[in-house]
C-alpha cells in the first residue's frame, strides 16, 4: 500500500504550537503542515471528529495561522488598497472575510479582518491570515504600508471552538457578567473578555459552517484554557483532517487549493465579499481585472459537484462535459461524513457552470458521473442573533 499521506518523519524539524504537548498527550497523529507539527486526527478518527463537531462542539488548534495588528492613523483606508473587502464599513468589534490581491487581481491570500477600537488616535485592525503565507503576507504589508505599524502576534495561540454547543460551553468559562454577551454576539463580531485574568480576543466566526468562536489567547495561557474546554463533556479535540472535511461540506475555500495567485475573487465565487461601494469605487490593487470580471462575467467559475456513487474525486481530477470535452479540474474533493457520500468543488468554464448540469469527474482514468450543485453542501448554522 502506498499512500500520499505519510507520517512526518522529520517532525523534529517542525515548529510547534503552544498546544503541542497537549496534542501528544491526547494521542494525536501529528503531521507537518505549513512548517508546523499539527494534529491531523486524534484516536477517534476523522469521521467521528467531524460528526461530533456538527452535533456538539469541537476544539481546534489553529495557532499556526498568522495573527497581527495593523495600526495607524489611516490603517483602514490603507489596508483597503490591498483588499476588495469593505473595511471602512466595519464598526469596532465587527469583522469581515476578504482577500489580499496582487496586481493581476489574483488572490495572494485570504484573511479575516476585525476592526478594533481606535487607540491613541490610531485605527487598529486585527488580521488573521493563512499559516503557509503569513511570513510573506506580513512582510508585504509592512513594506507597502510604512505609515502603519504591523505588530505580528507571535506570542498568541489561536483556538477555534465550533459546533451547536460552542456558545453554551464558552459562556461557562467567562465571568458571569460576560456570559450573556458571549451568547448574544452575532456572527462576524468580536469582543475582548477575561478568563482568569487573561485577556481573550473572541470572535464569533469559524471555518466549519457551524456556529462557533475563534479565540486568540496568550501562548502561555493556551494549554490551560484548552484543557478547561476539553474537560467539558460536549467538547472533543478535532484535527486538521476533520477541519478540512467540515470546511469542504460548508463550501469554503482552502487557500493553495481552491484559491491561489492564479485565481481572482469573482471566479472563486467570492463576490459576496466585495461590497457595492468597493465594486463601484475600486481603489484596490487588481481592481481593473476584478471590475472586468464583474462586468463581463468570469471565464470560469468555482462550483460544487455531487458525484454519483461512493468513489471520491480528489484535487486534480479532470472535469469533462458529457461530450468528453475537458472543462476544468477539481480543486478539493473527498468524502463528506455528514452526507455519507463524496463531494467536490472545482473550476469549470462559465458556459458549463449551471447547477443541475451533468459532468464527468475523471478518477484514475475513469469517468465518474457527477452533477453540478449549489454550495454549501451542508447548510450553514451561523448565529445571526435573536
Amino acid at each position: 500500500m502506498s499512500a500520499s499521506l505519510s507520517a512526518a518523519a522529520a517532525i523534529g524539524e517542525l515548529a510547534c504550537t503552544p498546544l503541542y504537548n497537549l496534542h501528544r498527550a491526547l494521542g494525536a497523529r501529528l503531521v507537518g503542515f505549513a512548517g508546523y507539527a499539527m494534529p491531523v486526527q486524534y484516536p477517534s478518527g476523522i469521521v467521528s471528529e467531524h460528526l461530533h463537531t456538527r452535533a456538539r462542539a469541537g476544539l481546534f488548534d489553529v495557532s499556526h495561522m498568522g495573527q497581527a495588528i495593523l495600526a495607524g492613523p489611516q490603517a483602514v483606508r490603507r489596508l483597503e488598497t490591498f483588499v476588495p473587502g469593505d473595511i471602512a464599513a466595519l464598526a469596532p468589534g465587527r469583522m469581515r472575510y476578504t482577500q489580499l490581491l496582487d496586481a493581476e487581481g489574483h488572490i495572494r491570500d485570504d484573511l479575516m479582518v476585525t476592526r478594533l477600537p481606535d487607540e491613541a488616535g490610531r485605527e487598529r485592525l486585527f488580521l488573521v491570515v493563512n499559516a503557509a503565507t503569513k511570513v510573506v503576507d506580513f512582510a508585504h504589508l509592512a513594506a507597502e504600508l510604512p505609515d502603519c505599524a504591523l505588530i505580528v502576534l507571535n506570542d498568541r495561540a489561536l483556538l477555534a471552538l465550533q459546533g451547536p454547543k460552542a456558545a453554551e460551553v464558552l459562556r461557562r468559562h467567562v465571568s458571569s457578567a460576560a456570559a450573556e454577551s458571549v451568547s448574544a454576539m452575532p456572527f462576524m463580531s468580536a469582543k475582548s473578555l477575561q478568563w482568569h485574568g487573561v485577556l481573550l480576543n473572541i470572535s464569533r466566526s469559524g471555518y466549519t459552517g457551524e456556529d462557533g468562536f475563534e479565540i486568540s489567547i496568550p501562548a502561555t495561557a493556551a494549554p490551560g484554557f484548552a484543557q478547561e474546554l476539553l474537560d467539558e463533556a460536549d467538547v472533543r479535540p478535532i484535527g486538521l483532517g476533520a477541519r478540512d472535511s467540515l470546511r469542504l461540506e460548508a463550501g469554503l475555500c482552502l487557500y493553495g487549493h481552491d484559491i491561489d495567485n492564479t485565481i481572482g475573487p469573482v471566479e472563486a465565487g467570492l463576490m459576496w465579499s466585495i461590497s457595492p461601494r468597493r465594486r463601484a469605487e475600486g481603489g484596490f490593487i487588481g481592481y481593473e481585472q476584478v471590475k472586468w470580471a464583474i462586468d463581463h462575467g468570469p471565464s470560469r467559475l468555482r462550483v460544487g459537484f455531487l458525484p454519483e456513487g461512493k468513489a471520491p474525486a480528489r484535487e486534480g481530477a479532470g472535469i469533462a462535459a458529457l461530450d468528453g470535452q475537458i472543462i476544468g479540474r477539481v480543486t478539493s474533493g473527498g468524502f463528506a461524513p455528514s452526507l455519507g457520500r463524496p463531494v467536490a468543488m472545482g473550476y469549470v468554464d462559465a458556459a458549463h457552470a449551471a447547477p443541475g448540469m451533468g459532468v464527468c469527474l475523471i478518477v484514475r482514468g475513469k469517468p465518474l458521473a457527477a452533477k453540478i450543485v449549489p454550495m454549501p453542501f451542508v447548510p450553514h448554522h451561523y448565529f445571526r442573533g435573536g
Partner: protein, 124 residues
C-alpha cells in the same frame, strides 16, 4: 494456513492454491476511516507489485499492490456498501480479493508474521 506480509502492508493468506489479499491492521490504522475501495475485475491477471486495488480514506487515496502474481477469482462485494469493514476487521471480513496463485514460491519471499512485526517495530 500461511499468512505473509509485504513491506507496503498488504497481506496474503494462502488457502489451498488461493491467496486472500487485504491490508494489515497497521495499514488501516494509518489510513483512518476507509470510505471507498475500488477492486479489480474478476479474471484480471496481476503480477506481483501491480496495482490491485485502491483504498480511499477520508484523507487520502492509497494503492494496494498485489503481494503475489496470479488471477483475480473473487472480490469482496461487501466492501461496496460497508468499506468500514476494512477498519473493523482488516484480516477477516475486510479482505479485498482472492487470487489464484500462479507461482506459489513467491509467497515464501514475503515476510512471515514475526518478520512483519519486527519490520513495523524498526519503522516506528
Amino acid at each position: 494456513m500461511t499468512t505473509r506480509y509485504t513491506k507496503s502492508h498488504e497481506y496474503v493468506r494462502v488457502e489451498g492454491g488461493m491467496g486472500v489479499v487485504g491490508i494489515t491492521d497497521h495499514a488501516q490504522t494509518q489510513l483512518g476511516d476507509v470510505v471507498f475501495v475500488e477492486l479489480p475485475p474478476i479474471g484480471q491477471r496481476l503480477s506481483k507489485g501491480d496495482e490491485a486495488a485502491t483504498v480511499e480514506s477520508v484523507k487520502a487515496a492509497a494503492e494496494v499492490s498485489a503481494p503475489v502474481s496470479g488471477t483475480v477469482v473473487e472480490i469482496n462485494g461487501a466492501l461496496a456498501d460497508s468499506p468500514g469493514l476494512v477498519n473493523q476487521d482488516p484480516t477477516g471480513r475486510g479482505w479485498f480479493l482472492k487470487i489464484e496463485l500462479s507461482d506459489a514460491a513467491e509467497v515464501d519471499s514475503l515476510m512471515d508474521e514475526d518478520a512483519y512485526r519486527a519490520f513495523l517495530q524498526a519503522a516506528s
